[in-house]
């Protein structure tokens, strides 16, 4: 259903302030809709050794092999088993196509420019370094993710060891 919404809003120029929001550990995040290629349920995946814990493995999406990133683990939150609400948001950023596992997908929100606060002052927690800006909807806020940073591997080496410990 969300996928249909995405498809309907295809024209590039209309996408500027549009974000697909999802829930993760009772918080709401948003990814810019231009990055999102589709939303699917959790498919069987293959574990790949020696990767950081948040990369759960790779899966086959119609012949394309896509890594699967658990967003809870990525943000160093408690891992929970996937249920029927769990979703994979497939994003394409540059050459990389990655599936993000989230608790659930909520909706596509169109933000006015004034509602997006750039460069928020946040503490330097792991999850916050991926937040580019904050979008306001009424009283609620959505944390808008910096997808480039999400897929960059700068801090990966520090995190790589975690799987070994677990």
């Amino acid at each position: 259903m969300e996928a249909e919404v995405v498809a309907a809003l295809e024209p590039e120029d209309d996408q500027q302030g549009m974000y697909l929001t999802f829930e993760l550990d009772r918080e709401y995040y948003g990814v810019w809709i231009g990055y999102v290629s589709e939303i699917i349920g959790i498919l069987p995946f293959t574990e790949v050794p020696e990767l950081p814990a948040f990369v759960r493995g790779i899966f086959n999406l119609r012949g394309q092999i896509i890594p699967l990133m658990d967003m809870r683990l990525r943000f160093q939150k408690q891992f929970v088993e996937y249920d029927e609400r769990s979703c994979v948001i497939v994003i394409e950023v540059g050459n990389n196509t990655v599936g993000l596992i989230v608790d659930s997908v909520s909706e596509v929100i169109s933000f006015e420019e004034a509602d997006i606060i750039q460069q928020p002052m946040l503490s330097s927690g792991v999850s916050n370094q991926f937040v580019k800006s904050i979008g306001k909807v009424g009283n609620a806020v959505k944390l808008l993710l910096d997808c480039d940073k999400l897929l960059s591997n700068q801090e990966v080496e520090i995190l790589t060891n975690q799987k070994d410990e677990g």
């Binding site: 790949v48 050794p49 012949g63």
Partner: protein, 725 residues
């Protein structure tokens, strides 16, 4: 009109040749040339839009023309070759002199006209008619332009240019249609064709010269350039080896017509080696009529299919073909046999078939469905399964092509070059059955051609020089393909003089191609310089190489498939060029194994055996490394579940299975839960994101199993390095 004598000799050459070409090569030529022309056109049009040629454009146009020239020469389409050669000259001039204020549009017009000409010729070839376009005027025009370019370079006015441009662009078009004037020109040039004298020659070869039919073919071939018409008996010398014995007994008869003097033509024959007896006499023109009439019943296009060719193979003129061509026989199958399909579409098709496989198994293996008590249904579902499997095989096989076609093509190049350069070179092919992706084939055929040309032209010494060095008289070139680890290697090795480091450096200095201090350059770095555009150490430009174009085609094409080029050389021992192509697109025969829930695929070529060890054969060395004793030999054990930290895997050696793998003479026993079976798999790279994150030792890529799950392909050389020193 029907008299073939009116036509220039070039056509006859083409015509004779056609009959001997093997079809696949022709198809490839047509396909490649068409593609090259299209790209060339794009470059020109693009640069015209941008208001001028960038150095890159010039190099690129040069490269296209070079490739077209090369392959046309190989297929003996001289007209096309000549045109391409002159265009290449012009761009060579532009590239080297970099003239200021060059009239780009004039150049573009001219080049596009040439492209049109070649296109028309290729079209004719594709339609199995004669490539009979007359390049003479075009070439003349190109030469005039080149001369003017040379003259006015540095001091030209725009007016001058405009005039010239008009000359070049408009007049030729009229002239081309103006048939009489072309004929006038021809008459001036070659004398009145019909005045030539006719000869009848019977050739007897030496008793022990062997392959008489091939020698006869070469003879006719050499003659073709000198004569108006040529007919010979037996006619099917090129593809019927039995004619050799016929010639041995009865001699080889040639009828031809030429305006070259009796003395000259006789001298030509006397110079041919292995001729034992020569019967030479002049005959009346009408004696040839018998042959001339033959084309009416048997147009050259149908000669392939005609069984009664025993009499004669006529070199019919284009005019004849037009008259005799049966519209229903108008045969364009040559192009239809090969269609160019976007590889993306093939990818999509393969993905869809993969999906189909999964869905098929989901449907037929669903418990409710399995419970259905209907024999018909189960028959149908077995049928469905069979068809889907076949479909998958088919899709896989569409993409995979053995290298043999490409390799065999090189034989031709070697042969032609040896002839022209008067050198003896033996080409040895190994591993041509290696299958690579269609994509890769398209990208390596040009590089191979250029490398081999360079090897013959620059690498292999003259006979005298070789003998002086104590080498075998004939040069050797080895062309080898093999699967190594995660790559396909194509090795081109010659035993020539090797590369001269000093001269490479000198030339690089001259052209300002050095990117780092000479002192820091390793031998390989220096040799790599020859791959740069515009690099050639050869002083003389020959027909084949020496202009520094070519080797950069190699790098460019390999870059496109993510491959690399390695150059090794030793003075007087030869040069080895290795093209390393990633396995990404290649196919491997693999053994699927299971460890815990994960599946891995081991390339079958690395597996020596698999077995379940006895407890007593397993032991630990003092460093706690596990070993297994087989037939008195000790081999290290690598537990995959331990190495990759896979949960829920078998840990008891006597309950799982050991697979002994060997690569580069290192042996290791891999411990897995079980073997799942052998299968051909298409290797895919791990996703970008994973690759950029970490290089996982021991993994070469991944593949999709028929059930849609992913198996990881092991890189055995990476694994053996882990435990074996």
């Amino acid at each position: 009109m029907l008299n073939p004598c009116d036509k220039p000799d070039v056509r006859e050459v083409t015509n004779v040749t056609r009959n001997f070409e093997n079809e696949p090569m022709m198809e490839v030529y047509i396909f490649e040339t068409t593609q090259n022309l299209e790209q060339l056109e794009q470059v020109i049009i693009c640069s015209e839009k941008n208001g001028g040629f960038t150095p890159d454009d010039v190099s690129e146009i040069f490269r296209f023309m070079h490739t077209i020239k090369g392959s046309s020469a190989m297929m003996l389409f001289d007209n096309i070759e000549k045109v391409a050669h002159v265009v290449e000259d012009i761009f060579y001039f532009i590239r080297e002199q970099k003239p200021d204020g060059l009239d780009f549009s004039a150049v573009s017009d001219l080049v596009l006209e040439c492209v049109d000409f070649i296109k028309a010729e290729v079209k004719k070839i594709a339609d199995l008619s004669d490539a009979d376009g007359d390049p003479v005027f075009l070439i003349e025009q190109l030469n005039t332009f080149l001369d003017e370019l040379r003259n006015i370079f540095g001091a030209e006015s725009n007016q001058n240019k405009n005039q010239k441009k008009q000359q070049q662009y408009y007049i030729p078009q009229e002239k081309k249609q103006d048939l009489p004037s072309t004929e006038d020109w021809l008459a001036q040039e070659s004398g009145m064709a019909s005045e030539g004298a006719c000869y009848h020659v019977i050739v007897h070869y030496d008793d022990d010269c062997k392959m008489e039919n091939i020698r006869a073919y070469t003879l006719v071939f050499g003659l073709a350039e000198m004569v108006e018409e040529v007919y010979y008996l037996p006619a099917d010398i090129a593809d019927n080896p039995q004619t050799a014995s016929y010639i041995r007994e009865n001699g080889f008869e040639i009828f031809f017509k030429t305006e070259i003097s009796y003395e000259e033509i006789k001298a030509h024959f006397e110079n041919i080696i292995y001729i034992d007896q020569l019967l030479f006499r002049e005959i009346e023109d009408h004696r040839l009529d018998a042959f001339r009439n033959t084309p009416k019943e048997a147009p050259s296009i149908d000669n392939f299919a005609l069984p009664d060719r025993d009499l004669c193979m006529p070199a019919s003129s284009p005019a004849n073909v037009i008259v005799t061509e049966d519209p229903q026989k108008n045969n364009t199958t040559a192009t239809q046999k090969m269609i160019s399909v976007n590889v993306d579409k093939l990818d999509n098709l393969m993905n869809l078939v993969g999906e189909l496989m999964i869905t098929e198994s989901m449907v037929t293996q669903c418990p409710e469905v399995e419970a259905i008590q209907s024999e018909n249904f189960h028959k149908a579902s077995i049928e469905l399964h069979k068809i889907t499997v076949e479909l998958q095989d088919m899709v896989m096989s569409i993409r995979m092509v053995p290298l043999s076609t490409t390799f065999v093509k090189m034989n031709r190049i070697v042969r032609d070059m040896c002839k022209k350069l008067n050198r003896e070179v033996v080409l040895d092919l190994y591993g041509e059955e290696t299958e690579v992706d269609k994509n890769i084939i398209e990208h390596i055929s040009d590089p191979l051609m250029h490398i081999i040309r360079n090897a013959i032209d620059h690498g292999i010494e003259s006979e005298a020089e070789r003998l002086a060095k104590g080498k075998d008289k004939a040069g050797h070139i080895v062309l080898e393909a093999k699967n190594v680890g995660s790559d396909v290697l194509i090795v081109i090795k010659d035993d020539g003089r090797g590369l001269n480091k000093e001269r490479i450096l000198e030339k690089a200095r001259q052209n300002d191609l050095l990117t780092k201090p000479e002192a820091e350059m390793s031998d390989r770095d220096i040799f790599k310089l020859i791959l740069l555009p515009g690099f050639s150490t050869k002083e003389n430009i020959t027909e084949f190489s020496g202009r520094g174009v070519g080797m950069d085609v190699v790098t460019k094409n390999l870059d496109e498939v993510g491959g690399t080029v390695l150059v090794d050389s030793e003075v007087d021992h030869g040069t080895t060029i290795t093209l390393k192509i990633p396995l990404t697109l290649a196919i491997v025969e693999g053994m699927n194994i299971r460890v815990g829930k994960s599946r891995y695929t081991i390339p079958i070529t690395t597996i020596s055996e698999s077995f379940r060890p006895d407890q007593k054969d397993c032991m630990m060395d003092p460093d706690n490394n596990e070993m297994v004793m087989i037939r008195g030999q000790c081999y290290p054990i690598l537990r995959l579940h331990q190495h990759y930290q896979i949960k829920n895997a078998e840990t008891d050696l006597t309950k799982g299975i050991l697979i002994m793998v060997e690569q580069e003479e290192k042996v290791i026993c891999v411990f897995a839960d079980e073997l799942l079976g052998q299968q051909q798999v298409v290797v895919k790279a791990l996703p970008n994101y994973v690759n950029s994150m970490k290089k996982i030792l021991g993994l070469a890529g991944c593949t999709l199993l028929p059930d849609g799950s992913i198996s990881l392909i092991m890189d055995i050389s990476g694994l053996t390095g882990l435990r074996v020193q």
